[in-house]
Amino acid sequence: MAFEGLPGLVETREAFGETTLVVDPARLVEACTALRDEHGFDMLIDIAATDYLGWGSPGVSGYIGTAQGRNLNRPMTQGLQALPAPKPKRFSLNYHLLAIRPGGPRVRVQVWVDDGESVPTVVPLWPGADWFEREAWDMMGIPVEGHPHPERLLMDEDWEGHPLRKDYPIGGEPVRFSGEE
């Protein structure tokens, strides 16, 4: 399928038999509208956010309680043999679209944002995006501009931090009512 001329298209990648369209976040809604109305991708299947903080460098993922973290990627032990290709910004948001028609074509729309930058909402296009966008805010801290209900979804309303960020430690949460206060 050809996606040339899609509004805001930055790059098209083909890997593992999947098509990824990297789109300028400012023109995300235009691009999604074109994909839905012209290319027939009528269903938004998923929005998956990824944090690339520390991508390819040691000591970020998986630290348990220590100040520096545990270096899981020391050379010659576990971890990387070659450094992975750098990413343009810290977060990626991946919109997985599906067309309900024979063959079931799929496409992944990817936008890149840095910490604090927001993405426009796609709820007017696909109402099902509501909880997925709230989850992206809750878990990754990516603000969604224009969302009708911008609240946390899974964590408590007063929760601090965004648990799926790479700088959010495992085992570091305070335990309430532990008797140590």
Partner: protein, 423 residues
Amino acid sequence: MALPATKDPIYEGTRIPSPIPTVLEVDPTVKDTDDILTVNFGPNHPSTHGVLRLIVDLDGEVVVGVHAKVGYVHTGFEKNMEQKTWWKGITYAPRIDYLAYQNNELVFVLAIEKLLGLEIPPKAAWMRMLMSELNRIHSHLVWLGTAALELGAISMFWYTFRERETILDLSELVAGYRMHTRYFQTGGLAEDIPTGFYPECRKFVEWMPKAIADYDSLLRKNEIWEDRTIGLGLLNRSDAIALGQTGPVLRASGVDWDLRRDNPYLYYDRTHFHVPVYPGGDTYGRYRVRIEEMQASVDIIEQCLDRLERMEGEPWIADDRKVVLPPREELHTSMESLIHHFKIVTEGYRVPEGEVYVAVESPRGELGCYVVSDGGPRPWRVKFRAPSFAALEATATAVQGAYIADLIAIVGSLDTVMGEVDR
């Protein structure tokens, strides 16, 4: 292909609340009459199918507002899986949706295999299909039993759990575990299929259609069941698509869509099965779809058995020693095997850099797994696209105008598993 512009048989236009699609707000003109009673429903209510909280506004007995709150069983599966090797992550996947464990396991190993570019032997593929279909019947049985229980049909529960027990026994026979088997291994299966499995599974395949007919005869012409399911919990096809519904909920809204047939994985394209579609978009349609899907699953299991019985002695796991554990008996004689075993268990295997999205048809709909690898032994990111998560978003659309008693049946008919919604 745009949807045909025919008259929608369920309802015209859209009923998705605006501006927030997942929250049904009380009409302000009604709210001012002071007749609205707000009821907190859950999170620990026996009929909420897990730990779901609904804040319901009632006008008399009629639901005029609903607000679903989730997150009570958020346990950070995705975060945890980032800390574990790919190999150990397989253990986490089935626990996310604890009723469709085999399908969860399947989607995660398929994602790893897609990144690795690993081919699995045919015997493993057929057995994976067989186990997934057994699991689908298991999940639908639990749904049917509890959904009927909520409407007062207590005996259904005993019958469905009797057959569920047989499925768990079959799992135990194959994998040693009744649930959360971790039987699917990167590259194939963890163990060969035991010899006693085929005759036992045949017995089940012969028995099950009779059991399904029994369930159907208990409920289908049951007046109470019909009154409380037909025409309730409506969701038309354009709303179902807009809300990202998949699986039985989508098929009950008249959309003929099944990933096993339309986006086939494993060897589903070599099997024949019926995809039930109902045009009603109601609770009854979802019940019919699930009942008929059980029969379709039995048909697939039978076809898998026909193949598997002729595959005696064939390999059940790929021959790639960098990814697959060496056979246990080699550890006593081969230094090389011992080293490989040690390396895979302690460090894990490296998975090429990249990102993939894999989807399978779980009993609840499209179960997707988006994984990112940085080339190391641990996933950089794992994201499960839970079908229940999307299904629960349709609550506010489907319960409009329902009675409070039917609310239970309608939310139940969406078949949500909260472990999967909250992850």
